[in-house]
C-alpha cells in the first residue's frame, strides 16, 4: 500500500459532490466523510442516488460538480489509480459465465498488480468451491462468494458493496457477511455497504449515511447519531416549534404524539416539560425516520428536482 493510506486520511471524502442526468440531478450537494477502518452503511430508496454515488467513488462516473476522494486521491482524476484503491462488488455479481473459477482468478491476477492468489485459493478451499468448476454451474451464493473473493484478493484498502446480499438466501447472506467482517477485523479494511435491508445493517455498520431524493439526509458515526436523537412522547397539541430540538419525524395519535428529534442531549433534558417522556432511539427506528424525512430545504432550493418529483411522500420508493 502507498503511504497515503494511513489512518488519519479519511477513506472516503465527498465535497459538494453532484451529478446531473439531463435536467435531473441524480445526486446533489453530497458532503460526507468516512474514516479509515469504518464499516459504513449507505441506505436509501431506489432512485435516491446510491448507485450514482458509488460509481463516482470508484471512478466510473464523472461528477458534474464537486469532488470525491478515496484515501486522499480524487477518484475521477486517475481512474486506474482509483481502481487500485477500491474493490467493488456489484449487485448482480457480474462474472464471465463460461469461465472457470481458475480462469476468473487468472484474469484477476493479470489485471491487478497486488493480486493475492493465495488468499483467493484458500477461500475456495474453505468454501468447498472447485477451481475447475465453471461459473455458470455455481449457485447464486457461490457466485457472490467468487465476486467477493475477486474483490478481497485485490487487496485494496476500500471495499464497496452494492446490495451485495439482496439476491442471496439467508444462509448465503450470513456466510458472505461473516467473511467481510472477519476480513475487516483482520486487515482494517474500510467497507461501504449499500443496502435496502435496514434491519440487517445494525450489526454491520459503525457509520451511517442516509440518502433520499439525491440528498444526504444524515451521515456520521452510528453511536454519535443515536446519542443525539431522542424519541419524545408528548401531548398531541404540542406544536413542532415547541419541541426541544429539530423535528425529524412525528406520528400523531388522538391524544399524544411521538416525535423523533435531533438535539444536544443535555439541552433537551433541560427543556423537557412535566409529563413528557424522552426515550433513546434504536438504529432501525432512526434510519426509518430519516428515510421518511422531507426537509423543506432539499426541494425548495432545487427547482429542477422539485419539478421532477412525482409528488409528496411515498412515491419516491418506486421512482
Amino acid at each position: 500500500m502507498t503511504d497515503d493510506t494511513d489512518s488519519s486520511t479519511p477513506a472516503l471524502q465527498a465535497d459538494r459532490l453532484g451529478r446531473r442526468y439531463g435536467r435531473v440531478w441524480g445526486l446533489r450537494d453530497c458532503t460526507l466523510t468516512v474514516p479509515a477502518g469504518a464499516i459504513a452503511g449507505l441506505v436509501g430508496p431506489n432512485g435516491a442516488g446510491k448507485t450514482t454515488l458509488l460509481q463516482m467513488i470508484i471512478g466510473l462516473l464523472q461528477p458534474t460538480e464537486g469532488q470525491v476522494s478515496v484515501f486522499g486521491q480524487t477518484s475521477h482524476a486517475d481512474a486506474a489509480a482509483t481502481l487500485a484503491r477500491v474493490s467493488f462488488v456489484a449487485q448482480d455479481h457480474p462474472l464471465y459465465r463460461d469461465f472457470s473459477v481458475a480462469d476468473m482468478f487468472h484474469l484477476g491476477r493479470a489485471m491487478n498488480p497486488s493480486w493475492d492468489q493465495e488468499l483467493a485459493q484458500e477461500r475456495m478451499d474453505r468454501l468447498g468451491i472447485p477451481l475447475k468448476r465453471k461459473v455458470k454451474h455455481l449457485s447464486g451464493g457461490q457466485q457472490a462468494q467468487i465476486s467477493l473473493t475477486m474483490a478481497l484478493a485485490k487487496r485494496a484498502p476500500l471495499l464497496v458493496l452494492d446490495e451485495p446480499v439482496s439476491s442471496l438466501d439467508p444462509v448465503a447472506r450470513l456466510e458472505f457477511m461473516r467473511d467481510v467482517m472477519a476480513t475487516a477485523a483482520d486487515t482494517g479494511l474500510t467497507v461501504l455497504i449499500a443496502s435496502h435491508v435496514v434491519s440487517e445493517l445494525e450489526r454491520f455498520c459503525d457509520w451511517l449515511i442516509v440518502l433520499t431524493s439525491g440528498h444526504v439526509q444524515i451521515a456520521g458515526p452510528v453511536d454519535g447519531l443515536i446519542a443525539e436523537h431522542r424519541l419524545l412522547t408528548i401531548p398531541r397539541a404540542t406544536p413542532d416549534a415547541e419541541l426541544p430540538g429539530l423535528r425529524i419525524h412525528r406520528t400523531d395519535s388522538d391524544r399524544h404524539s411521538t416525535a423523533l428529534v435531533r438535539a444536544d442531549p443535555a439541552r433537551l433534558a433541560a427543556r423537557l416539560r412535566p409529563g413528557w417522556q424522552a426515550d433513546p432511539v434504536g438504529f432501525e427506528q432512526l434510519v426509518m425516520a430519516y428515510l421518511q424525512h422531507r426537509p423543506q430545504t432539499a426541494a425548495a432550493d432545487d427547482p429542477v428536482l422539485a419539478a421532477a418529483r412525482p409528488g409528496p411522500a411515498a412515491k419516491e420508493v418506486t421512482r
Binding site: 464499516i39 457477511m177 461473516r178 467473511d179 467482517m181 477485523a185 440487517e200 445494525e202 450489526r203 454491520f204
Partner: protein, 132 residues
C-alpha cells in the same frame, strides 16, 4: 471456547447484547475467572458483526472489571459476578420483606398484576432518570 449469539429483533444494541451474555454467563457459572474470550476476529466472523462493536463490548467489560486484555494473548475473564452480593445477605432479606409488604398493599388497594408491573416499570424509569 465461549461463543456469543446475536438476536437482531430485540432492539438491544449489538455491543450490549455481547456484554449482557458475558455478565449472564458469569452469574450462571458458565464463564470463570481465567477463561479466554474469543478474539475480535473470531466473533466478527462468527456472528457477521462489525469488529468495532466487539472491541466496544470488550472495552465495556474491561471498564466493569470483568475482563482484561493481555497484549498478544487476547481478552480474559478477570472478575466474577455472584447472584448474592457479598456481605449483603441481610440487606437483601430486608429488601425482600419490604417488597412483599408493598405487594400485599398493592393487592389490598385493588391493583391487578399488570398494574403492579406497569407501576414498577414507571418507577424504575423515574429512578433511572434521576441518575442521568
Amino acid at each position: 471456547m465461549f461463543r456469543f449469539r446475536l438476536d437482531g429483533s430485540t432492539g438491544v444494541p449489538p455491543y450490549l447484547q455481547l456484554v449482557h451474555q458475558v455478565r449472564q454467563s458469569l452469574l450462571l457459572g458458565y464463564l470463570l475467572q481465567g477463561d479466554r474470550l474469543p478474539t475480535v476476529k473470531d466473533v466478527a466472523g462468527d456472528l457477521a458483526i462489525n469488529p468495532n462493536t466487539v472491541v466496544k463490548a470488550y472495552r465495556q467489560l474491561e471498564h466493569e472489571g470483568l475482563a482484561a486484555g493481555r497484549p498478544g494473548q487476547g481478552t480474559f475473564i478477570t472478575g466474577s459476578l455472584s447472584p448474592d452480593p457479598p456481605g449483603a445477605p441481610g440487606a437483601q432479606q430486608a429488601l425482600r420483606e419490604s417488597l412483599e409488604k408493598w405487594l400485599r398493599d398493592a393487592e389490598d388497594a385493588g391493583l391487578s398484576d399488570d398494574a403492579v408491573t406497569a407501576l414498577i416499570a414507571v418507577a424504575r424509569h423515574d429512578v433511572n432518570k434521576e441518575k442521568v
